[in-house]
């Protein structure tokens, strides 16, 4: 893995092709390869696409400065995921007024061929799951982490992970069941 700062061409054309950017090549490769998956995790953690993109970029910017050290310790994905989770929690503390959960979902059309509204219902339901329960669900069932790994990232015990997961799952079921009952 390249640890020195090298001059590389912009990896994505059309957006910054005219710019000459200076990044660690290894970091750029990591972003190219893993950012899609990380973006989806961020979306599940925040239940907001725009906020998820901001969260991911802020997380990557944080780890960019320490990339050499992070990369030297092995796969940096777990580290980046941890940073992203902590960043999301801190953002939630700071932006507690920006997210307003609502129990009333928008009315659904009779036909939804693309399933967009179904997805929106899922997103709204997920948004109503408490953050730590949501994080436990995402780490356990989307990132396929073990209970121990999830506990390490969340900074809690395995038992807490189990209870948080169970409660979150029940909450999600309840929300989606309520939705389906309508």
């Amino acid at each position: 893995m390249t640890t020195s700062i090298e001059r590389v061409a912009p990896v994505e054309s059309g957006v910054a092709s005219a710019r000459v950017l200076w990044v660690d090549e290894g970091f750029a490769a990591f972003v190219r390869d893993r950012s899609t998956r990380l973006a989806r995790t961020a979306f599940l953690l925040t239940a907001d696409r725009h906020l998820a993109e901001d969260l991911l970029q802020a997380t990557l910017a944080k780890v960019a400065d320490r990339w050499t050290r992070i990369a030297s310790q092995g796969d940096p994905t777990a580290y980046v995921r941890t940073v992203m989770l902590h960043t999301a929690i801190s953002w939630r503390r700071r932006r507690w007024r920006s997210e307003v959960p609502t129990a009333t979902l928008p009315e659904r059309l009779a036909s939804d061929p693309g399933g967009a509204l179904v997805d929106e219902g899922l997103r709204a339901a997920l948004a109503q799951v408490p953050p730590r329960q949501r994080a436990a669900l995402v780490l356990r069932y989307y990132d396929d982490l073990s209970e121990a790994e999830t506990a390490e990232i969340l900074g809690c015990s395995v038992g807490t992970v189990k209870s948080q997961t169970a409660k979150g799952l029940a909450r999600l079921r309840s929300l989606l069941g309520t939705e389906h009952d309508r």
Binding site: E12, V15, A16, L21, W22, V23, L122, Y141
Partner: protein, 348 residues
């Protein structure tokens, strides 16, 4: 039962994976993410550099402030000599353009006592960072001189000071409109104002002083003060001038508790001689007035080779000098008591 529970768990896991996977797939990809992250990184680095630079400047400013504060030493009174100091150990303050505060800790009192008409340096003893120094020039560089300080109102051994456009000069005891010829090794005395950056700007400089920075040999044969000069004015160089209260009279020798003097001393013992002239209550007296313990006297004296002082002119019962009773409550009370006593004797 266990099998049913396990099935429920699997169903729950599958349900969660299905919901989360389906929802995650709706997150669009961002082709400009790398560039965006790079912009953020660069912005963060610039901000960090700017913050460090700001902190550095603030730290430098803080250190500079401390240094300037440290360099801006206020004029301080010279330490008073011990009461038992022999007269010969009390060096005259020859050469300093004005009297360095000697025994009075009150700069206002000293300034008042040393203020004279036309004396440009007579009001220098204030608390505005002005210092006075006498010494020998060690270097001259255009508008700057370096001086090896022999005596100063602040604790300093070497000083570099700058001439200003409004610097006034004295040459050989006379006011000079221009800067005197200065050379390395010349004895000078000057007063200077401490600048915010710690440098010194000279506001008055005396050069080629007849009695400045005397050698020991010179000290034994000072030039005579003008007859009739005000011996209460301790600014004449080459002699010591003392104003104080007699604490002991032993034949021709008197000991005086110093109130004000041109030397650093709290007590001075001096001897009258046949050549001593006297003034009593402002009038010249051909005979030695009666001197008693507690009388206030002022005299000029010549240091002798053996360290004693020989009084050249002695004045007593003065009425035209600053009376400490004006500022000293105890003295005022004594004065009032004496006045009452005199009044009582007159009326009686």
């Amino acid at each position: 039962m266990n099998m049913e529970h396990h099935v429920n768990d699997l169903e729950s896991n599958e349900f969660a994976r299905d919901v989360l996977g389906r929802l995650a797939a709706t997150m669009p990809d961002n082709p400009g993410r790398v560039a965006a992250v790079q912009r953020i990184v660069r912005r963060r680095r610039r901000r960090r550099v700017a913050t460090r630079a700001t902190l550095g400047l603030a730290s430098a400013a803080g250190v500079g402030f401390v240094v300037v504060n440290g360099a801006t030493r206020q004029p301080q009174t010279l330490p008073a000599a011990s009461p038992t100091v022999p007269p010969g150990d009390s060096a005259p303050t020859a050469g300093v353009p004005d009297t360095v505060p000697v025994t009075s800790p009150d700069p206002c009192a000293v300034a008042k006592a040393t203020t004279g008409p036309g004396d440009a340096t007579s009001t220098l003893l204030d608390n505005q960072g002005r210092m006075k120094a006498a010494g020998t020039i060690t270097a001259i560089d255009g508008e700057r001189i370096s001086v090896s300080v022999e005596q100063a109102s602040i604790e300093i051994s070497d000083v570099t000071a700058t001439f200003a456009a409004d610097t006034t000069y004295g040459d050989a005891g006379q006011p000079s409109s221009g800067r005197p010829q200065l050379g390395i090794g010349d004895p000078i005395a000057f007063s200077a104002v401490v600048q915010p950056d710690g440098s010194y700007v000279i506001d008055h400089l005396e050069a080629h002083m007849p009695d400045a920075v005397q050698t020991p040999e010179d000290a034994t044969k000072p030039s005579a003060p003008p007859r009739g000069s005000d011996v209460t004015n301790p600014t004449f160089d080459g002699w010591i001038k003392v104003t104080g209260t007699i604490t002991a009279v032993n034949g021709s020798t008197i000991s005086v508790s110093v109130e004000q003097a041109s030397i650093v001393a709290t007590d001075v013992t001096a001897t009258v001689s046949v050549s001593t002239t006297y003034r009593d209550a402002g009038q010249t007296s051909s005979t030695r007035p009666e001197l008693a313990i507690g009388d206030r006297v002022a005299f000029s004296a010549v240091p002798q080779p053996d360290g004693s002082y020989l009084i050249d002119q002695l004045e007593t019962h003065m009425t035209d000098i600053a009376n400490p009773a004006d500022t000293d409550p105890a003295g005022a009370a004594a004065k009032q008591k004496r006045a009452l006593a005199e009044c009582g004797s007159t009326t009686g």
